[in-house]
């Protein structure tokens, strides 16, 4: 059996695409690594929607989106939803997906494939970031969503971006307000970002941000601004957080410097990518419908460029409309007229993005750590200095550096180090970061066991 549309990921973009495509009569299969729908932003929302710490759009709009998806699954001939299932290979010629689920490995044929694989947090390679109890801010938020859990003792947040303030407010409501926020936004960044505008159309988002900042400060969180020289120190476990001009004891350090598209699968599939200079990251090349130049493949949501969950919902619907048009279920004018409200949404929810991108642009030391001793590849424990030495030996890009150093050959396959290695190589050669290129990962996209491979039908 061939599914019309295979959607990888059950976050806002994937859920929205599935609902829209099923309503247009397409057979839809949703593949998701998580056991429940919602993606990272609405993770575990069916269980945690009433947690007062998570009150807000998570418990309202998030819960509603997942409810609509569950409703669409029940509709006969609707959506084949496969949770706890990982895509580990995709044959783009045959339209054949290799999946690993709880019942072992299977294959699935699809007429069109939508990657809705979302974002990951940008690596924050500061000295000591591999110490136990140094985590990402997103990790702490996931623990709150999936288990209701909060960090014990003195918690320090460090970095910049809306998520840090959101998390600070949520932890405060959960009775575990962070002690300190070390904000790395440099002096003058706000003034430089103001001309980007978008404040009137983005006023709801601005008001939300201001409310979060106020709530976190009211709960007793201190803020240090313009922080540089951030480092974590400890003896096999985090003890102290140190920065230029200060230090503090800490039991948990939560790092965040924004999110970047998760391009692991789109890169492995050989899709063309473009460098997004305002967001300092790569994103797959897509048209206004999320379609890539490959006839089988589309990308929607944060995986195609960071825009947040509301933009992802709109982009998912647009990709579904385009899939219906390509599969002959919708005429072009039908697709275009149905797209109008989604395009209006995109215009509204992306209005503030240029301002946020300028204000929270990661500093050069985040992209390419200054100290040679800083670990950049967490798996193989390769330092910034080793990457710089490889550049001197002639490594021009991360794929070459991988052969020199094993950066990208550990279990994470370069998800954590790829961007940092490229930035260090570019710096050493005096080139802009995109000139260094990006890692080309290969299948399996996630590790599988030999047994799972052997169990494949016809294997």
């Amino acid at each position: 059996m061939t599914t019309d549309l295979a959607i990888i990921g059950a976050g806002p973009a994937g859920l929205s695409a599935a609902i829209e495509a099923a309503a247009l009569g397409l057979s839809v299969t949703v593949i998701d690594e998580q056991p429940a729908p919602g993606g990272q932003i609405f993770r575990g929302v069916e269980r945690a929607a009433t947690d007062p710490a998570l009150a807000g759009e998570y418990g309202t709009e998030g819960a509603n989106l997942v409810r609509r998806f569950r409703g669409a699954i029940r509709y006969p001939g609707g959506i084949d939803y496969r949770p706890s299932t990982t895509l580990w290979h995709l044959d783009t010629e045959a339209g054949l997906l290799s999946l690993r689920g709880e019942g072992g490995s299977t294959t699935l044929a699809a007429r069109r494939v939508l990657l809705a694989t979302g974002a990951q947090e940008r690596p924050v390679p500061v000295p000591g970031w591999t110490l136990p109890n140094v985590m990402t801010a997103g990790a702490a938020q996931i623990l709150l969503k999936q288990a209701g859990a909060v960090p014990r003792g003195r918690t320090v947040l460090a970095g910049q971006g809306p998520l840090l303030w959101l998390l600070a407010g949520q932890l405060a409501r959960a009775g575990a307000a962070p002690s300190l926020l070390l904000e790395t936004t440099p002096r003058g960044a706000l003034r430089a970002a103001l001309p980007a505008g978008g404040f009137w159309r983005g006023r709801a988002m601005l008001a939300k941000g201001a409310g979060l900042m106020l709530a976190a400060r009211r709960a007793g969180m201190k803020v240090v601004s313009h922080v540089t020289g951030l480092r974590a120190e400890g003896d096999g476990i985090l003890r102290r957080v140190v920065w230029d001009g200060g230090s503090t004891e800490a039991e948990t350090l939560l790092l965040h410097e924004g999110v970047i598209p998760s391009t692991h699968v789109s890169r492995a599939l050989g899709l063309p990518h473009v460098w997004d200079e305002p967001q300092r990251c790569w994103r797959p090349e897509v048209d206004a419908w999320g379609a890539t130049p490959h006839p089988l493949l589309a990308v929607a949501g944060d995986g195609a460029g960071i825009g947040g969950w509301q933009a992802a919902v709109a982009a998912g619907a647009l990709a579904a409309l385009d899939a219906a048009r390509r599969l002959g279920r919708l005429a072009e004018h039908g697709r275009d007229s149905r797209a109008v409200p989604h395009r209006a949404t995109l215009g509204r929810v992306l209005a503030l993005r240029p301002f946020l991108d300028r204000l929270y642009a990661p500093g050069p030391a985040v992209l390419a750590p200054l100290e040679d001793a800083t670990v950049v590849c967490r798996c193989e424990e390769i330092t910034a200095g080793q990457v710089r030495a490889a550049a001197k030996l002639g490594a021009t890009g991360p794929n070459q550096a991988k052969a020199y150093l094993r950066t990208g050959m550990g279990p994470c396959q370069g998800r954590m180090c790829g961007t940092t290695v490229a930035a260090l190589l570019a710096e050493a050669q005096g080139l802009p970061i995109p000139e260094a290129g990006a890692l080309r990962p290969r299948a399996p996209f996630k590790p599988i066991t030999v047994g799972e491979l052997a169990d494949l039908p016809g294997g």
């Binding site: 998580q34 136990p132 967490r378 994470c412 047994g451």
Partner: protein
């Protein structure tokens, strides 16, 4: 180390982290159980033996690799807890196991 909040999320599933029983809420992952158990490390790295705990909690960093119900090198943050699940730390590189 993380603390549970039983008011919104009662801890109803008992799992074992190492040999110690830990109760965690439904929907939590093995990595959450590790952090709630409060152990100092879930693995030591194959290269230098450095201790690690979960870092990203979303399947990206692979720092939460653990032996879960006898299967090594599993991403603990991607595995939902089940009653009686056994989550064991990993020390250094794994040795291939051949099953008869």
């Amino acid at each position: 180390m993380f603390l549970p909040r039983p008011e919104p999320r009662p801890a109803t599933v008992e799992v074992f982290v190492g040999d110690a029983p830990v109760r965690v809420p439904e929907g939590a992952t093995a990595a959450a159980a590790v952090l709630l158990a409060g152990i100092p490390a879930i693995r030591e790295t194959p290269v230098t033996g450095a201790p690690r705990l979960p870092y990203c909690m979303m399947g990206i960093c692979f720092d939460c690799l653990a032996e879960i119900d006898g299967v090594p090198n599993r991403q603990a943050c991607m595995v939902e807890v089940k009653p009686g699940m056994r989550i064991a730390p990993q020390h250094g590189a794994r040795v291939a196991k051949v099953e008869a």
